[in-house]
Symmetry: C2
Subunit: 678 residues, 2 copies
């Protein structure tokens, strides 16, 4: 019937017939094809670049001749001459349809492009930023039709971009008149597209066509460190990442000591609020400078943090979080102004905080849930974010449960005699020969094992300074595998184990990993108190997970995802030997890296994901471990290595745990402790 040319878009597959002479951008808009444009088809922004394909396309039933698109017009030619265009590319707003054609929209020309994540199992991020740029031509004032300059700007946004009910940030009112005149009534407008609560809002106006971009921050506000990722809100790229220590550390290393500080010191909460906000601003200067951009171009920011940090950052006294029933002042997601939090970015910038799941399970856990999406997993997945507190999620498409468990800082190398933060020289990998009972290890900064030739050169540079969190896990698991440590957590004596590396150390024994004393270095041992600290931490972690499994009505999980910096370095096998995590095929234990930070980035780049995670969090079932009777029982069982009761059938196919017992009835360690807690 119709003789109009057929236009087929890839990758969407959308197609339709359009009259000869229709610009490709117009065709795309009418078909609902995702083709970007900031200048609205004026050949200025080049965001609508497309790639026409020529030849035979049996799949689409089309033959595309060389003249399927119009000749280059002046605007397009001028753009190419001045700015350059990749070979094969055309400007979608200038090239018009002349015959049947197949048109590819490259990712960078899609508004809702996918930002690819590195891990195979992770979903890509679809771009849906809060704020976008729009170029408009504004009607000039007319005495006979009096209306404000702002109203004509809003009308231009409505007519030229179908943006309705847009409001202007108050500060914009003060500057709009000179900017409109400077731009000759042509301006580029940054519009926050609004959300359920707020209408769309003009954030910034530039005279003429603004060539730059606008930026957003994804911030993981941890108790110890604050990490910020600066993202380009048009491309989705991370343009700079930076981190600082949380300046609140001077008020207390861990969360509860900060809550205590605010209880003991009048105005202490406000001091801590000031400290974290000042630190935040310093970090923003740093990350913007690293990216070489003006921080006033940062128009959006997403924060994730645990409940105590959440309250202190918002300026809320965390008093109630320090005692049962751990009442949050507010648990919902929050959309506030950057100025409410004294953040020195764009004066109209918005700030979004993910919802808190419960008094102990914060917006950071919500961010992990957003990143790892247990609610979208067909498999039953256990997600563990290991830090001073472990946040634990268990679920699948049916339901998701959450809890937190106070693991303490042992996993981070604190409370460990030779423990240290992960830094060059720290032992991070270790193997113990089950026959000779001798260890070999790697230190951070080198891939060489300590029994390899040339290791002396390595340590000449870094030294061997201590054991980091993942190192201590491996050391203890290897000690258990080598028969140096019994299930109750006692290190054998040199007599019991047959190695001089087991040395008496007070009333208990220690195992010598490295004796650096001849060269003035440290004697690096694993002591029985070290074992007990890790036992407590891993028992807390495991019993939280086990409690969720009880509530879910299962005894096994399909997958385990370890989130957090610590989770990134941990060995699945060793964690399982220790009984930190439930028995599970090793291949199904993966690391998600900084999943909380990734969750913040997703929420920043895709505002739809904010609505999604708010809904997910509402549906997550929260379990308070502190008042669950079975938690204590699980904890006692999990104090054993790997566990006093639970079988680890998959693990037992991989390793054999020596059946040793070093309890001579005279020691005062593990056994009595456990009885006391039981």
């Amino acid at each position: 019937m119709t003789t109009d040319p057929l236009v087929v878009f890839t990758p969407s597959g959308k197609r339709g017939n359009f009259p000869v002479g229709t610009p490709v951008l117009t065709v795309a808009r009418q078909l609902g094809v995702d083709l970007d444009s900031v200048c609205g088809g004026r050949g200025i922004c080049s965001k609508c670049q497309i790639t026409p394909s020529y030849g035979e396309f049996p799949k689409h039933g089309v033959t595309v001749t060389d003249d399927a698109l119009s000749e280059w017009n002046k605007v397009e030619q001028r753009y190419k001459d001045k700015r350059g265009l990749t070979a094969g590319r055309r400007l979608g707003c200038q090239a018009t349809v002349q015959g049947d054609v197949v048109i590819d929209v490259p990712p960078e020309s899609q508004v809702h492009r996918q930002v690819v994540r590195k891990r195979a199992e992770a979903r890509d991020i679809e771009m849906n930023p809060s704020t976008r740029l729009f170029y408009v031509e504004v009607e000039q004032p007319d005495m006979h039709k009096p209306s404000g300059d702002m109203e004509r700007l809003l009308e231009a946004l409505e007519v030229q971009w179908s943006l309705q009910n847009v409001k202007a940030d108050f500060e914009i009112l003060r500057s709009v008149q000179p900017i409109l005149r400077k731009g000759g009534w042509k301006v580029t407008v940054a519009v926050h597209l609004g959300d359920e609560v707020q209408p769309p809002k003009i954030m910034h106006v530039w005279p003429g066509f603004y060539e730059g971009s606008i930026y957003g921050l994804a911030v993981d506000l941890g108790s110890t460190t604050i990490a910020a990722h600066l993202c380009d809100l048009q491309s989705g790229e991370v343009v700079a990442s930076s981190g600082i220590m949380n300046p609140q550390i001077r008020f207390g290393e861990d969360l509860m000591s900060r809550v205590s500080y605010s209880m003991m010191n009048k105005g202490g909460d406000q001091e801590m609020t000031r400290a974290v906000r000042e630190g935040m601003n310093a970090l923003f200067v740093q990350v913007a400078s690293e990216a070489g951009i003006d921080k006033a171009l940062i128009v959006d920011a997403v924060f994730v943090c645990n409940p105590v940090m959440h309250h202190l950052f918002l300026g809320i006294d965390p008093f109630e979080l320090g005692q049962a029933p751990f009442a949050l002042a507010t648990s919902n997601a929050l959309a506030v102004q950057a100025t409410d939090l004294d953040l020195e970015i764009h004066p109209a910038a918005r700030v979004y905080l993910l919802p808190c799941i419960a008094g102990h399970v914060g917006a950071d856990a919500a961010a992990v849930a957003l990143s790892e999406a247990p609610n979208k997993s067909k498999d039953l997945v256990l997600v563990v974010d290991v830090g001073t507190n472990a946040e634990i999620l268990l679920g699948n498409t049916d339901k998701v449960l959450a809890c937190s468990s106070p693991t303490g800082p042992a996993f981070e190398g604190a409370q460990i005699s030779s423990g240290q933060r992960a830094a060059p020289g720290a032992i991070e990998r270790i193997e113990i020969d089950p026959v000779t009972k001798d260890p070999r290890f790697q230190v951070i900064g080198s891939d060489m094992w300590s029994d390899e030739a040339g290791f002396a050169d390595v340590i000449a540079v870094t030294g061997v300074t201590g054991i980091c969190g993942s190192g201590i896990i491996e050391a203890i698991a290897e000690m258990r595998l080598a028969g140096l440590l019994d299930a109750s957590g006692l290190i054998g004596s040199s007599e019991q184990t047959g190695t001089p590396r087991c040395i008496a150390d007070g009333r208990t024994n220690s195992y010598v990993i490295w004796d650096g004393t001849p060269d003035g270095g440290p004697l690096i041992t694993v002591t029985n108190p070290d074992i007990r600290a890790i036992q407590m931490a891993k028992a807390a972690l495991y019993s939280g997970a086990r409690l969720l499994m009880d509530k879910f009505g299962v005894d096994t999980v399909d997958r385990v995802v370890l989130a957090g910096a610590f989770g990134a370095h941990i060995s699945a096998k060793h964690a399982m030997v220790l009984g930190m995590i439930p028995d599970c095929p090793l291949a199904n234990v993966t690391s998600a890296g900084n999943a909380a930070g990734t969750g913040a980035r997703i929420a920043l780049l895709n505002t739809k994901s904010r609505v999604e995670i708010e809904e997910t969090v509402r549906q997550i079932e929260k379990i308070e471990t502190a008042v669950e009777p079975r938690f204590q029982e699980h904890f006692v069982n999990a104090s054993a290595i790997p566990n006093a009761i639970e079988p680890f059938p998959i693990l037992s196919t991989l390793v054999t745990l020596p059946n040793v017992n070093f309890n001579t009835g005279s020691d005062d360690s593990g056994g009595r402790r456990r009885r006391r807690r039981g």
Copy 2:
């Protein structure tokens, strides 16, 4: 069929049958009867007081027996004993229906009560304040159902008051936890009910039942004076009114000199913004102190002002308003935060500015339109707000036209040789005997005429100090009626008029009203330059009105409303003799007092009226007098007294204007001037 008792409410007439034992408040809610309650039926607030009527009610077909309502229960009795209740009153939430009953809801128990306005033709104000108080009982935190305290407060508002999607002001988050605990989980909440742009928002939370009220400000921000009315947002009463001089006067008496100041002085606009905001804050302290309330209880404020004041108050450089095409930065109504404007009232307080009609016709004119509602008038009404600029509205239910006209300050007594502000001692009323050509007058501060016995005692107190704005109108009109002044605006010589009161004064003549010099007082005359200043002012006013009549396609209007302080004192007859206003029955010329201030008060007390006036303003047709060719023609004609061309048929039935002409061909006043402008 039903044997349930019949309940009839007055004045609404709503009725229905309800089971014995139903509380009256419940009945009222189910019938949609407007019965107030802050405590939600807990017998605390007494806002739901009702008056049962007993006996025969043939009109309603009901006989009400003495036991139609329940006996006083403990709660009701305790309230009465402790706080007292007017005789015949019951608490609607405690008294239950026992038999057929007629129940009157007194005005003070209605949320949407009518605030009665004094003038017969003015519509009453229906109460619909932005912010209301709600008492709620909040669920306590529960570890097993973790949710924020704020979320449970919001839930209480939803369940107990059907308030949905309420958000909390950011500052509230910081204080909600201790307040909930202090109130034992019972709190009173001030909720801003939201508007098209903003969702409902918690403004303040008090522990327990808050017995006080909340307040709003209606502010008329004039070039010369700023007047604030402090209103109780529950009762609608004006609890205090106060005014100050606009501190911007030091930068220029009139608007254009302030615009010039900002053009000539870098940062001058910001200086003026600071000045007016500081003045505003001083005024708020004053008015709150007068009412004896804490100004932090002021949660809403409405401002009306002309466009230049509007921009300067908002912190926008008024530069563009000083030159064609008089582009406003923004013309729409604005809802901003008090903190945006540095106003020191409640930190979460909202501020509403009425829309501007055009670059010369401001939010003050919109407020006049709201107060006088020409768009709801069946008669064709001309509304004139007389100040340094006259804002003129002409319309009826069909359409409304608006313009402004630069009358200058002559009507306020400026530029007049003996002119002064309205103050004791100023001549405000004057009559000239057409035979003797002698005047008699009244001064402000006394009702006695100057030819009455005892006037000497009056002026011993006040003196005779000058002529105020309304006095000069009467003086000139009387001079015209007495044949002392010709239609062109020339005062006759003593020879021409036959009275020694006409004295030579340079090349023209003056008329002596009062010679106070023997007692060291002033010689009060009307000079020919005085006449010319008033001619210019009244011609500007009339020609604006006439232009609107042209545009409307009419030669007469049905009614004239004079707004503004000046309009309140002007004599309709004299204004018409002068040709200030169109010919019209004198009884149909009324004064509206400070209609702009009243408009602000309406917008404050009834948020529905905000939507209404925004819609009205959109539909008002704006006429820019400066570029209308006929304006000049009308101006020239209107320079004559009353008019060179237009007949004043109604006026001519009331007065006879002597046909005199004092132009001897040698003077340089009125005639030549008019030719120059023509």
